[in-house]
Every structure is written in C-alpha cells, then in structure tokens.
C-alpha cells in the first residue's frame, strides 16, 4: 500500500481529521484499464464491475477475438478435444457486466500521465491500470530461435491460440515411428505440470495411432517439477517404452533445417516434431514499462493489492508476477489474483481500507489420458510479517493416483472457471 492510498484509507475509516465529503452512492469511482483477457485479466475486469457495484468504468484491452484456454489445450494435442471446446466468447463481459472490450494490443504506458497507448493508435486514460499480459519468451536464450522463420516450424504452443492447432497438425502429419521431442525450461515457467501432461497427451495419441513413435522429454530441471510420482505412475501404466524422460538437459540451440536441438553440455537430439518451450518472463508490456524488477524477468507486487513495487497506480497479476513461495503460475491462481486485485482497487478508488488478510486456494488438474486425471491443491494466506502469500500448513495435497473419479470435477472446474471469468 502506498502512502497516498493509505491516507485515503485511513480518512475513510475516520482515523484522520475531518471526514471527507460523502459521495453519492452511485457516483462514479474511477476508470480502470485492464490489459490482457486471460485468466487473470478477464477475472479482474468482471470482478471490478461486481465489487465496484457498477461504479467503476472498466476497459479490457485484448487483441484476440475470443478467449482460448491454456488449461485443457493439451487435450487438443492428444486429439480427444477440439479447439472449439476450449474457446469462449468475450461477449458476456460486455453484455452482462458492462465491461468495454477493446480489441487491440497495449503498446506503451505513460505512468506519469496515467495513460496507455494502443497499437491501433488510441490512447486510454486510467486511474488505475491492471496488467495481466501472461508470459513472453526469452528467444535470445535459444540460439536459432532469435529469427522468426525458425519459430514458424519449431513451435511452443504454450499460449493456446493458433500454435496449439498447428502443433496438432504437425503430430498428425508425422509418420508412425517418428520422434516427438519436448524441451522444458528451468523453473519458474507458466504451468509447472503442463509439459508432463503434454507428454501424456501426445503419447496417448501415439499409442492409439502411431504406436512405433516415441516421446522424448528433455527437462532443464533436476526432476519433474510438479506431480512427479503421479506422472511417473501414469507413464509406467499407460506409456511404458513410449515416453523417455531426461532430466538436467537444458536446451540452448536449435537447427530448424535439421529439426534438432542442442543442449548445454553439447549433446544433441533430432526430432520429427520439435516442441521447444523457451525460458519465459513477464509479458513484454510489463517488461518494457520497467516493472520486471526481479532479474528483469518477473514483476514484484504488493500481495495485498497486486500494485507494482516499481510504479504506483499500475497493478500486475497472473503469470507475469514474481510468485510467492509455493504459488504456482497457474490459470486458477491468476483468477484468484484477479479477484484480490479487483477488491483492492475497488477499495482504493472508493477510499476504503484494503483487506489485510487475502485468503485463497489453487486447484490444478492434469490429464494423463483422455479421461484420467491427477490434481494438486493448496490454500494460500497472507503473512503480514513476511509481506507475502504463504501456503497454509496442513492444507492442500495431491491425488492418491491417476484416476477417473475426478474427471467430472476436472471438466466441471473448466466450465465453472470460464463462466466465473467470462460468463
């Protein structure tokens, strides 16, 4: 909380001098611009309208016509689901909640003037700005991917969108007996269990249609970064001999023509389909605005408000932030950030105190086949001494084993969280 908002809060609570003039109950509280219509930004936009009781003018800037979910997108690679199954309209945000949705890309921030410039040329003014730009890729960390042409054949498919469908087409075009190579960057990256789920989905497809093919995983980390024993169990039960896991292989270069990847210690691997997840950092708009104060990669925030520690009036949430201990970069977590931030911004704009005790949970399902799932869960509370979120001791946990009992809940999770952010 900065000094200005603290004083406003204390004034509203009657702790300072003369009471401020009472606002009319329906007076506008201010203008908020939200950048990015993913799990964090869309949730923040909708909940600003709910928590602000319609008195906050909310503009959502999003370049894509429709929302496409990263969670469940690996099922599209496996072939058990289609892109249309994971695509949701932004229409209800405007129609039902009065969010102004602007289809454009954020270009630059003038924090002193409190304006946001858009790629299309328009300039939006704001009282508070919320950035939820997801991740960008550190292309300079993988030699050969600096230029755009190699990137048209060596895909990441880590933002859903068109790359997911394109990678599926590469898998369909691959002959039986081919090799799918997946490289995983050192943590932190978006969606810790996602790469291992992807290996399951591609292997599920191979097992049924291209059984002589192989999935080779090369992981820059020491070991599987999330749900390790559960993924190993699924691999052993369903994909024995189909999935090969190689820890401590950090991809540093690719050869697009040869479809090969080179690792830090000089080894190489050739692929028929090469899927490289480059190292990640905060979305470009946040990095360019100087908000990535942690190693130039992630944005440090005040966990009570998600306000940037670098720039007052600008909030950052979702995968772009420097995470708290044991807090995953997940869509579910971004949804929780969005609500905490929306409530704090509504309080700050109305001169009310900010809630000092945020409390929320994370649940993340991974599909180990077309129907079998595993989950990890956790509960997070604010620790005022450490000024960060910590996981509540004794809460949270994992599935006991890959199972189908949780499958209806996994699909229910998807439908409810999409409705919660966009419906």
């Amino acid at each position: 909380m900065n000094r200005r908002s603290l004083l406003k809060g204390m004034a509203a609570a009657g702790l300072l001098g003369p009471a401020p003039a009472v606002r009319a109950a329906d007076a506008p509280l201010g203008k908020v611009v939200v950048v990015g219509g993913g799990y964090g930004g869309a949730t923040a936009a909708k909940y600003l309208r709910l928590f602000g009781k319609g008195r906050i003018e909310v503009t959502l800037v999003e370049p894509n016509a429709e929302f496409v979910s990263c969670p469940l997108s690996n099922l599209v690679l496996g072939g058990s689901r289609q892109m249309t199954d994971i695509t949701v309209s932004y229409d209800a945000l405007a129609r039902r909640h009065g969010v102004r949705v602007v289809r454009d890309r954020a270009r630059s921030i003038d924090a002193a003037r409190r304006t946001l410039r858009l790629a299309g040329g328009d300039t939006l003014s704001y009282d508070r700005l919320i950035l939820s730009p997801g991740v960008d890729f550190m292309w300079d960390q993988v030699a050969g991917l600096e230029d755009g042409e190699a990137r048209s054949t060596i895909l990441h498919a880590w933002n859903a969108e068109h790359q997911t469908a394109a990678l599926r087409r590469q898998l369909e075009a691959m002959p039986d007996g081919g090799v799918f190579v997946l490289t995983i960057p050192a943590a932190p990256y978006r969606c810790p269990p996602g790469p291992y789920e992807r290996a399951c989905q591609v292997a599920w497809y191979f097992k049924r249609h291209k059984p002589r093919s192989k999935v080779r995983i090369f992981d820059a980390n020491q070991d599987i970064t999330s749900k390790g024993p559960l993924f190993r169990q699924a691999w052993a039960e369903h994909y024995d001999g189909l999935i090969e896991y190689n820890p401590q292989f950090n991809a540093v270069a690719v050869d697009a023509a040869a479809r090969s990847v080179e690792f830090e210690l000089g080894e190489t691997a050739r692929a028929d389909v090469l899927n490289v997840l480059p190292p990640m950092r905060a979305g470009a708009i946040a990095v360019d605005a100087g908000l990535a104060t942690a190693n130039g990669r992630w944005c440090e925030v005040d966990f009570l408000t998600f306000e940037s520690v670098a720039t007052p009036g600008v909030h950052v949430l979702g995968d772009s932030i420097q995470i708290a201990p044991a807090m995953p970069k997940s869509g579910h977590m971004a949804n929780q950030h969005g609500k905490t931030c929306a409530a704090a911004v509504a309080a700050l704009l109305s001169g009310a105190p900010v809630d000092p005790e945020p409390l929320y949970a994370n649940t993340c399902y991974s599909f180990t086949s077309d129907r079998e799932v595993i989950h990890v869960s956790s509960v997070h509370r604010y620790d005022p001494a450490r000024k960060t979120m910590v996981s509540v001791h004794g809460a949270g946990g994992l599935s006991p084993a890959p199972n189908t009992r949780e499958t209806p809940y996994a699909f229910g999770w998807a439908r409810n969280i999409w409705a919660d952010m966009l419906g």
């Binding site: 909708k46 709910l50 005790e357 989950h375 509960v379 209806p408 699909f411």
Partner: protein
C-alpha cells in the same frame, strides 16, 4: 507516524460478524474470500448447469459449515475438498458460509458455461491419420 496496521485492523472490526445466518451483505472480506470458492463453485456460488461441482448459493450456512468440518475431519470423503477445507479456520468458514447463504440461487444462463465443452469425457472426434 500512525501505524500502517491501523486501517486494516479497523476494517476487520467493522466487518466481523458471527455465523448467525443473518444476511452479511456488508461483509466485504467474506465476499472476497467466497470469491475464491467461486472459481470452482460458480460466481456467487452459482455453478453452471450440469456441473459435477455443486452450487453453494442459497445453501443453509450451517450445512456449509458442517460439510467443511466433515471434509477436514475425513468424516465426508472427497477428492479435493478434504485438502482445501483444512486451510480454513472455523471463523473464516462461518463467514464464508453466511455469505453464500445470503446469495439467491439463480440459474446460470447456458451461454455462460463457457465454450462447447461438455461435462462428460471424451466424445471421440479426432481425425484419423
């Protein structure tokens, strides 16, 4: 300088309310805590039609409190709620339960359920190679 903790402390005092069943419409902190549950149980506890995850809007507060207690103790078996329930103390649970009890259990419009994803797994529609 006045402590930064003062204003938040005032909020908590103002917002605290017993688990009485009285509509805690002004308990903004509970509303935001409950919003964390909404991620799976639907906005304001109104789950989408056909959801395996049950709605919470309009449920009796005592019922919600009992379920959370039974999840945490293991008396009611669960796939994930036994892990989540352990993260909430009795006071937090009571205020969240009061808040959900005060919400009208309205149906969720079908077009709000998101995408064309159905609740049942795997209708095979992939292209054969």
């Amino acid at each position: 300088m006045i402590s930064k903790r003062l204003a938040p402390a005032a909020l908590v005092l103002a917002a605290a309310s017993p688990a009485s069943g009285a509509p805690p419409a002004s308990d903004m902190q509970a509303a935001v805590w409950a919003a964390a549950c909404a991620t799976c149980h639907g906005t304001a506890g109104r789950a989408v039609e056909g959801s395996a995850i049950p709605p919470l809007a309009g449920r009796e507060a005592g019922w919600i409190v009992r379920q959370m207690r039974d999840f945490a103790s293991g008396a009611r078996p669960a796939t994930v709620m036994h892990q989540i329930a352990k993260g909430y103390d009795a006071g937090q649970t009571a205020r969240i339960a009061d808040w959900f009890a005060s919400q009208a259990p309205e149906p969720v419009a079908p077009d709000a359920s998101g995408g064309r994803l159905q609740g049942q797994p795997a209708q095979r529609r992939e292209q054969r190679p």
